[in-house]
Amino acid sequence: MRRYLVSRFAFMVVTVYAIATILFFLLRVAPGDPTSRFVNEALPREDILALRAAWGLEDALHVQYLRYLRNLTLLEFGTSFTLREPVAPVLFDRIFNSVLLLTPALVLMTVLGVILGAAAGWRRGSRYEQTIVFVSLLGRGMPTFFIGMLVLMLFAYQRQWLPAGGMTAPGELPGRVEMLMSLDFWKRMILPGVTIIATGIYGPMLLMRTSIIEVLGEDFLEVLKAKGLPGWRIAVHAARNAMLPVITSTAVTFAFIIDGQVIVEQIFSWPGAGRLIVQSMLDRDYPVLQAAFFLVAVSVVVANLIADLLYGYLDPRVRYD
């Protein structure tokens, strides 16, 4: 186990390092000068060179590369071009907002998916199961932004049940605690949350269904039946054993969850990291773009590790070597 952890961790570091390196060289081979956003072209040539030298852009490539790696490791992400503020605090603030939206949505999605999927597998061949499979089939083909726009259209505009976007009412800047205590904040979370669930629930649901169908043939269920347990308690036993792939797959699909989050935040003007990423790309705000991308890569790699470890924890039969 320890050897596995060490090698797994080493691979993680190598992966993150490789991705950071790819990003570094992408930034260098990309057409156009990254400083052109920051430096007025009309300045005399010497002045531009002096500025570039001050930023270290005139140093040899390997010096720049080593400095880049050092800064990433120390989480020194520099100053945003557009916000003119240090990147790290802004970024972590935005990540916090994203997590605030994502956590309840993911938990609810997994729980709902497991229950609905388990019921479908348990009642195989019923009208209910067919409905679940059909809805999943269509739902999987629906892009996140289409679902988001439909949700907006139906619940925020046609029936004005819930606010259309933002995390707080426009013009208001409550403190964090104050915001979390207000009903308005939770109301604003519903539509984006529903969109996340409606985009991602089909995976866990279908997986749970097949998983239950597979477990149904196993001997331990016969034993439970022979013991005379009521149906629902047998179902719970079956579900516990079938849940394994669902939980690990949620962790594995973390990269796709991030994709969805970027789009949801865009549609519902949620001030999270995804919206910051899109904005920094549109503005060509290189420091923010670098930092955000780096953190996303790290989180995906960590999520994969968690998935692997969870697998072993939930199913003792799994051996690491």
Binding site: F11, V14, T15, A18, I19, I22, L23, L26, L27, A30, P31, L137, L138, R140, G141, M142, P143, T144, F145, F146, M149, L150, L152, M153, A156, Y157, T199, G203, T210, I213, T253, A255, F256, I258, D259, G260, V262, I263, Q266, I267, I277, V278, M281, L282, R284, L289, A292, F293, V296, A297, V300, V301, N304
Partner: protein, 329 residues
């Protein structure tokens, strides 16, 4: 979603296409290499057989019919309705036909600029098929080369290439695509490039594992004994047996690529002068059409959904046809 292709592709990792590959392998081992014409005829017969099996499955049938309709719409639609997609159409009294709900003259309505949405949707179908084929095809070619090389040479080559693939698999799609497009400029050509560059990863893995089992077969040993070089064995003897599997990944990839392109265009990194479904939805979103013009949102969204679903149904049917073991579920 962007992940759809890759997500679905995780499932058939063990032994997909085994049976067909085995059959073909046995046939190839049993008799001398057939001429190109005969090979072509055998392939055609095989394709017909595959289609017949897929047709017996109801969902696959629905998928095939929808896909054919999309192909027709893409092929002849823009030739029948010849208005340029970004031209504002005018009413009889000379006013621009702005924000018209669906009617007989404009079955999908018009947008805020008075552009005929049906025309844009038909062009969008064309672009979807174009983008999907190019991106999925390009990715499948890269993936096949990587997987074939890794699986065939084994040892250090395999180790290196597979570690590279593992690293590549950890790259999150949308953020990376956005970085790439921010650096190299938005637009359809760069979108296709980045989609192909991100799509090769899962085919590479699956092709490799398939090569690992295929290369131990007697007919490969026979070819080697007959003096065939490495490149010849890889491309003449192994590649044809990998094709069913590769086609499956191209099929899955088309759906993934189309929805990925739509996401990227929706976020504003597409080509504003090309009518793709994602681009239509982007302009609908920025114009606030959810409030004013439901048809501007619903039709392109439905087109996307149905296209991706039909691709999924067809590839599922195809997968079951080439891998009978899947038919039980």
């Amino acid at each position: 979603m962007a992940g759809e292709g890759a997500g679905a592709s995780l499932a058939p990792s063990t032994g997909t296409g085994d049976s067909v590959a085995e059959r073909v392998a046995r046939a190839a081992a049993a008799r001398p290499a057939p001429g190109p014409r005969r090979w072509l005829m055998e392939r055609a017969a095989w394709a017909a057989g595959t289609l017949r099996i897929a047709w017996s499955d109801h969902l696959a049938k629905v998928g095939i019919v929808m896909l054919v309709l999309f192909l027709l719409a893409a092929g002849i639609g823009p030739e029948i309705r010849t208005t340029p997609p970004f031209e504002s159409v005018t009413l009889e009294d000379g006013r621009i036909a702005k924000n018209l709900p669906p009617s007989r003259a404009y079955p999908a309505g018009t947008n805020r600029l008075g552009q005929d949405l049906l025309v844009q949707l038909l062009h969008g179908a064309r672009m979807a098929i174009f983008v999907g084929l190019l991106a999925a095809g390009g990715g499948a070619i890269i993936g096949t080369l990587v997987g074939l090389t890794a699986g065939y040479y084994g040892r250090l080559v395999d180790q290196t290439l597979m570690r590279v693939t593992d690293v590549a698999l950890a790259i999150p799609f949308l953020p990376f695509a956005l970085v790439f497009l921010a650096l190299f400029g938005p637009g359809l050509r760069n979108i296709v490039i980045i989609l192909a560059l991100l799509f090769w990863r899962s085919p590479a893995r699956v092709v490799r594992s398939q090569v690992l089992t295929l290369k131990e077969r007697p007919y490969i040993q026979a070819a080697r004994a007959g003096g065939a070089g490495n490149v010849r064995i890889m491309f003449v003897h192994l590649l044809p047996n990998l094709l069913p599997l590769i086609f499956l990944y191209v099929a899955l990839g088309i759906g993934g690529a189309v929805s990925a392109e739509a996401s990227v265009s929706f976020l504003g990194f597409g080509d504003p002068l090309t009518a793709t479904w994602g681009q239509i939805l982007n302009s609908a979103f920025t114009a606030g059409a959810m409030r004013t013009a439901w048809w501007w949102v619903v039709f392109p969204g439905l087109a996307l959904t149905l296209f991706v679903t039909s691709i999924y149904l067809v590839s599922r049917g195809y997968e079951e046809a080439v891998n009978p073991r899947l038919r039980r579920m």
